[in-house]
């Protein structure tokens, strides 16, 4: 047995796919992909716009009634949205991958993308959470100022406990699994890259 025989047998293998049929399904798949992408962008832009206008309206309507914590809470909410948009935009930019590059370059790009996804979970989610907590606490502190001290502190404690427990549950249930998957893929890719390049 030699390699040339294997090669010959390999190249003569029957090709059992109906390419014409596949090409027709490809058209549908492409349209679905574009529609999905379009709606995702449109819906998230509309959602963000409504949130920005809504928060702006709340500020303009009530800022004279409240003090600086109210203004600060609104500013934090806008910062929160800005952080979200930046993270979303960078994640979206990573989706535009170039498959026409060499595998070494492609794997490096995938590794960069995975490290970014990792950073979103390990860092940006906490930044987002801290900003959300700060915005809500400042807002609540101001809007409950006519209430008793016990009521104000209870409201703050409830919102803190809620955010803290939801984020902990998220981090140690859902995101833990995601992180394990990301780390496994990173290890596989690094191994493949070293096998290909070195």
């Amino acid at each position: 047995m030699n390699f040339e025989d294997l090669q010959k047998s390999w190249q003569n293998q029957p090709i059992n796919v109906n390419t014409d049929l596949l090409k027709s399904t490809l058209q549908t798949k492409w349209q679905q992909y574009q529609r999905k992408l379009f709606f995702r962008i449109i819906l998230s832009s509309i959602g963000l716009f409504i949130a920005m206008v809504g928060i702006g309206w709340v500020y303009l309507s009530f800022h004279q009634e409240f003090g600086w914590p109210f203004t600060l809470s609104i500013a934090v909410m806008y910062t929160l949205m800005l952080v979200y948009v930046c993270a979303y935009w960078k994640s979206y930019a990573f989706k535009k991958e170039n498959l026409g590059t060499s595998s070494g370059t492609y794997i490096s790009y995938q590794l960069k993308k995975l490290n970014w996804q990792r950073k979103i979970i390990t860092l940006y989610n906490w930044v987002y959470l801290a900003l959300l907590w700060l915005a809500l606490v400042l807002y609540l502190w101001e809007v409950t100022r006519s209430g008793t001290l016990i009521f104000r502190w209870t409201a703050l404690l409830v919102i803190t406990a809620y955010l803290f427990s939801v984020s902990l549950w998220n981090r140690f249930k859902k995101q833990k699994k995601q992180l394990i998957e990301i780390d496994e893929i990173i290890t596989d890719l690094q191994h493949m890259k070293s096998q290909l390049i070195d």
Partner: protein, 169 residues
Amino acid sequence: MFDQQELLFNELVKTHHGSIYRICRAYLYDVSLADDLYQEILFQIWKSIQNFKGEAKVGTWIYRIAVNTAINFNLKNKRYQHISLPNFIQIPQEDTLLEKQEQESELDQLCYCISQLETSDRLIISLVLEDKSYKDIAEITGTNINNIGVKISRIKVRLLKLMETKSRA
């Protein structure tokens, strides 16, 4: 513009569909999964065709898309990775056993043995089996051209050894 793209796509698929399909078969042992990968590669070629600027040869570009899509396909679907099954599991069902035994050929063994190689080796050998030159393989995979010869010789030896073991079994 759209028609031009479609024409180019049809021509590319017509010329390279055999090679693309064989890359899928080399990368995935399971035929039905290889079919899914084949479809995904065609989709990625269609998606990327408007960005093709002719910096690389069309052939190299097509192979790069095929190989990179295969890498991505495996990552997204880790369960698809072929884990060598014990022989008794690979025995076909009784009613198809005779037919399968008759069909058992060098090609079946070759597919199985390729699936036993490391992922990166499977990619390289699929290009070697397509008669690609060292230079082309280096351009497609990004491997250093000075190392590619040694790497290919090592993979060939491993593959032939696996084939011999399988023939004896």
